[in-house]
């Protein structure tokens, strides 16, 4: 025993050590990745974020320098605090408080003392800075907006959050990323690639030289500039027209699918989300839950499309051969569904397709809609055919444009109605509201604009998109350059286009003609309801208008949707007419009409439901 005691202890110790070492070095996953090594610091070299231009090359977004005053608490020498504070533009208690916080964070590492000095403060401070040891000015790059418009399209950038970090290993804490709009959609192109230098640190976090002699270091890759298809002037003009109104406007170039304007009202100046006041402004916008300025109505609002939808029903009926343009239907100032009469404002009388469209006759389209279903033995078959045709116009699903958000709208299918009424317990009478674009159908403004572009092209469309050039080179993305054909043959479009042209010539929009330009359009007046204290309450109709021009060589197709703007030819029709003139002619001849649209607001209308008092809807104000 006494002879082997020591040997046993020696062997036992050896085994214990090896077990412990194998636990430490084999079974504990070592953090060998360079980024997780606390002894290595990565210093990033950020390239400048790419600029954004409009379709004509006019600058929309650039960068501006911002100056942060930084402090390394350990290196601060006694100083004339009062003088320094007055230079910085902060009061003394706050200065001392921040210095203390910086010291708590780390006495050896730099902290931001005063963020984002104005240029004037910077100029005053810069020459005196050397007097104050331990302080220095660090330049940062912020977005600069050369337009007060298009905040919803351009989007904004902000610091990455936990989710971003988890999703994409490229980012590290404190970096900026595109949060919405173009900035998000084309983040990687605009951002470029940061360069990195790995620095070996000691335990006090001081640099002691490059890691592996810089073998792993990379150079930054510049962010690329992009051109988007927006027309800066048209966008700015449209937003001025939208002041005081809520709704969305989308204009598309039918020949390419390029989005010319994408307006949501109310909106905000994109510069509000940059700089010192950023978070204050953001809260103000974000918590405005009544007018919702950050909610892009042009792509997210899903109202019923109203009468513009009639044109599609006419096209389906022609394609299915259930009517001819000459087919007539009598309007009894309305039409009957069973024994219930539904109204019509067209004036009554015999209607054919042409007058049905330009007078927007409900009775004519109810009859047409029924004929589509009557062609088939069962309502289910008719429903499938109708759904297929309508969806070929890009309705009822996500369009696939290059913005990070969107809504599908709704084109109801037979299963939808089976769910509501039960299998085989509904017929075309139940869903007759769809004939006139009310009822269950719903579409976003961009879908309506796209549908209009398809009619303007007589049977096809290009997926709407914003990207035009990257780094000066035109972009070829097959999804955006391929024609998407509708299921309607081209010859059926002419009668519809004629009807839509007559809307301006002698129909519901005859007061809105533009000298020298042929326009085809369609008004829409959409009944709408909200729940007010639990009671379904009808509000003033939404004003909807779709149009394209010129009729025979369409350059612009647009949809205008104004919440509670009353009948289609009113707000929406006026704004559409002004935008078309502005885009095609460059200037407005009808100054009084323009003045009226710029000055009129609908705030009184929007205030009604919140007033707590009884209110009237659909009042004729002007």
């Amino acid at each position: 025993m006494k002879k082997i005691l020591l040997s046993s202890i020696i062997v036992l110790i050896g085994i214990t050590f090896i077990v412990r070492l194998s636990y430490l070095q084999i079974f504990t996953s070592p953090s060998n990745q360079v980024l997780e090594d606390t002894a290595i610091k990565a210093i990033y070299d950020y390239p400048e974020r790419g600029y954004i231009y409009d379709r004509q090359g006019k600058l929309l977004v650039a960068n501006q320098p911002a100056y942060d005053v930084m402090v390394i608490p350990r290196e601060v020498k006694p100083l004339d605090t009062l003088e320094f504070c007055s230079l910085l533009g902060v009061d003394k208690p706050r200065f001392i408080d921040r210095l203390q916080k910086a010291r708590v964070y780390s006495p050896r590492l730099p902290s931001v003392l005063v963020p984002q000095l104005s240029k004037e403060d910077y100029a005053r401070l810069q020459e005196k800075m050397r007097k104050y040891e331990g302080f220095y000015i660090q330049k940062r790059s912020l977005r600069y907006y050369d337009t007060p418009s298009a905040a919803n399209v351009l989007g904004y950038i902000s610091e990455v959050n936990e989710q971003d970090l988890k999703k994409n290993p490229y980012y590290v804490q404190g970096e900026l990323t595109g949060r919405t709009g173009i900035e998000k959609q084309y983040e990687e192109i605009l951002r470029g690639r940061k360069g990195v230098k790995y620095i070996q640190k000691d335990r006090f976090n001081r640099d002691i030289g490059p890691y592996k002699n810089g073998m792993l270091d990379t150079l930054p890759e510049q962010g690329k500039e992009i051109h988007i298809s927006l027309d800066k002037d048209l966008q700015e003009y449209g937003e001025r027209l939208m002041v005081g109104k809520r709704g969305g406007i989308v204009a598309i170039e039918p020949g390419t699918g390029e989005i010319l304007t994408l307006i949501s009202g109310p909106t905000y100046n994109p510069a509000l989300l940059v700089g010192r006041e950023r978070s204050k402004n953001y809260s103000k916008l974000h918590y405005d839950t009544i007018s919702k300025p950050t909610w892009d109505r042009a792509i997210l609002a899903e109202p019923s499309p109203g009468s513009p939808f009639k044109t599609l029903n006419a096209l389906v009926a022609l394609q299915e051969g259930v009517i001819k343009p000459e087919t007539t239907i009598r309007c009894y100032n309305g039409f009957y569904v069973g024994n219930v009469k539904r109204g019509c404002h067209c004036g009554g009388g015999i209607r054919n397709m042409n007058s049905g469209i330009y007078e927007s006759c409900n009775a004519y389209f109810a009859g047409t809609f029924r004929k589509i279903y009557d062609k088939y033995a069962t309502t289910d078959e008719g429903m499938d055919v109708w759904e297929k045709h309508i969806k070929s116009f890009g309705l009822g699903n996500y369009l696939g444009y290059d913005l990070p958000t969107g809504r599908p709208g709704r084109i109801p299918s037979k299963s939808y109605y089976d769910g509501v009424y039960g299998d085989n317990r509904w017929s075309s009478s139940f869903i007759i509201s769809n004939a006139i674009g009310q009822g269950e159908v719903a579409a976003t403004p961009i879908q309506l604009a796209n549908m209009t572009a398809a009619i303007a092209n007589r049977g096809y469309f290009y997926t709407p998109h914003l990207i035009k050039k990257i780094a000066g080179e035109p972009v070829e993305i097959s999804n955006f350059t391929e024609r998407k054909y509708t299921t309607i043959d081209p010859q059926h479009f002419e009668p519809i286009v004629t009807g839509m042209a007559n809307v301006y010539k002698k129909g519901t929009a005859k007061w809105l003609r533009i000298p020298g330009i042929d326009i085809a359009g369609k008004t829409g007046t959409v009944e709408n309801f909200i729940l007010l204290d639990g009671v379904k309450t009808q509000l003033t109709d939404h004003s909807v208008f779709v149009a394209f021009a010129p009729v025979n060589n369409p350059k612009i197709a647009l949809a205008v949707y104004i919440e509670n703007g009353y009948y289609g030819a009113r707000y929406a029709g006026h704004i559409a007419s002004l935008l078309i003139e502005k885009y095609l002619n460059g200037e407005i001849t009808r100054k009084d009409l323009e003045k009226r649209m710029l000055e009129k607001t609908l705030e009184h209308e929007y205030a009604k439901p919140y007033s707590g008092e009884e209110f009237k809807i659909n009042e004729y104000v002007w």
Binding site: M1, K2, K3, L5, L6, S7, I9, I10, V11, I13, G14, T16, F17, I18, R20, L21, S22, L24, Q25, I26, T28, P30, S31, N32, D37, T38, A39, I40, Q200, K201, D202, R203, I208, G209, Y211, K212
Partner: protein, 427 residues
């Protein structure tokens, strides 16, 4: 004097293991203390250069030790011991304080640490006393004298304060065990440690239940012929519970918070992860950093001179007490096991050498050498890899430091000389 006899009888395996450990140690010291402006390895302004110088001095010392007549070591053992005790006493008057401990004499070119010398003189003195024909280790009185030889230097070193070095002398008790000190001393010591730890970890109740179960088990499996000493067992049980209660008392009322924190960390007593993390980063900072460095090495290590934590000086005192963490980071599991195996081999070889001595003095001194090397190696590596609390003593042959290297070299080579001389004893 360097006859072919000596060269033939020297144990070359031990010398090879010694040289390997010194060489690997220096290679790691070089990596740890290398700075950017590092020039020649002989640059004596750099720590690695100085260590190279100490290695040279040690090798010269080896030659001198081997040249000295073996019998002289036994003859002068008592004198050397007395000299080193005097040197330890002298520290109270002439000592130089480095890092809070008054453990050095300033010799101008060199700081001499007498506690390093005392290690081998105590081993010599103990061997001399025990090998005396008059000494009977079974006698209480002689046990007491033997303990005194160990306790006197300890008592002088503790107030320096250098409790780590003092602890080393306790290891010499293994020599006594080898020479017939009853093993129940060992069992009692072990029982005290186990009760201490289990009380802190599980509380007195569980400790008592566990001990009662063990005693019951012992009674159940005892041999039929074995007469059970029931009364001593019950007495042992009661004393154990009393000791356990006093552990709680001492821990909570006599220990200071920093001591409690060390135990909290070592035995993972603190259950709140946030507090444990805080202790890890304050009291346990060195261990925390050395564990992280060793973990970072993984299986193969990061490669020589590539250890980022080593370069970044993350582990304090890495070139001295924490040198093993450099091995861990740069050479990985392969490197650390190699070093552990080298130490195991060296110690086992020394046990073998000690056991083949015909001369009692040589054997006893051999055991002294093994005990001192073993406790250094056990406590140092155990601390660096985080299974023992922080006790600052160097890794033999490995850690930076002149006194240490010289002390260990003298300690080892006196034994090698005695071993080489074993056939001449009758002369």
């Amino acid at each position: 004097m360097f006859g072919s006899n000596l060269l033939r009888r020297i144990d070359w395996l031990t010398i090879l293991l010694f040289l390997l450990l010194v060489a690997i140690g220096w290679v790691n010291i070089y990596s740890t203390t290398l700075s950017d402006e590092g020039s020649s390895i002989f640059d004596f302004s750099q720590l690695y250069g100085k260590q190279l110088f100490f290695i040279g001095v040690s090798l010269v010392t080896v030659v001198i030790i081997l040249a000295i007549e073996a019998a002289l070591y036994e003859r002068f053992a008592s004198l050397l011991y007395i000299i080193s005790i005097l040197l330890l006493l002298g520290l109270f008057v002439f000592g130089k304080t480095i890092a809070g401990a008054t453990s050095w004499y300033d010799l101008g070119f060199f700081n001499l640490q007498p506690s390093e010398l005392a290690k081998f003189t105590a081993a010599l003195a103990l061997a001399k006393y025990l090998s005396d024909i008059q000494t009977d280790i079974k006698k209480r009185k002689h046990q007491l004298y033997a303990f005194l030889i160990i306790l006197v230097p300890m008592a002088l070193i503790i107030p320096q304060p250098d409790p780590g070095s003092a602890l080393v002398f306790a290891a010499l008790i293994f020599v006594l065990f080898r020479e017939g000190l009853p093993l129940y001393y060992l069992w009692i010591a072990l029982l005290i440690v186990v009760i201490f730890i289990t009380t802190l970890m599980f509380g007195t109740e569980w400790m008592a239940i566990g001990l009662a179960l063990l005693i019951t088990l012992f009674l159940l499996v005892k041999k039929a012929s074995f007469k059970v000493p029931t009364f001593p067992l019950i007495l042992l049980f009661i004393i154990s519970i009393g000791f356990s209660l006093s552990v709680n008392l001492v821990f909570n009322h006599v220990f200071e918070q920093r001591h409690r924190d060390r135990f909290s960390l070592w035995l993972r007593l603190e259950k709140d992860p946030a507090k444990l993390e805080k202790i890890r980063k304050t009291i346990g900072y060195n261990t925390y950093q050395s564990e992280k460095a060793i973990e970072a090495g993984g299986f193969r290590g990061k490669g020589y001179l590539e250890g980022t934590r080593t370069k970044g000086d993350f582990v304090p005192e890495q070139h001295t007490d924490y040198i093993f963490s450099t091995v861990g980071e740069e050479w990985g599991f392969l490197g650390t096991t190699t070093v552990v195996l080298l130490f195991t081999l060296l110690l086992l070889r020394l046990v073998h050498l000690a056991e083949r001595q015909k001369n009692d003095f040589s054997r006893m001194y051999g055991y002294g050498v093994i005990s001192i090397l073993l406790i250094h190696y056990f406590i140092n590596v155990g601390m660096v890899i985080g299974i023992l609390p922080t006790i600052g003593i160097p890794l033999p042959f490995f850690s930076y430091g002149g006194s240490g290297l010289l002390g260990f070299t003298i300690l080892l080579f006196i034994f090698i000389k005695l071993d080489a001389n074993r056939l001449n004893e009758w002369l």
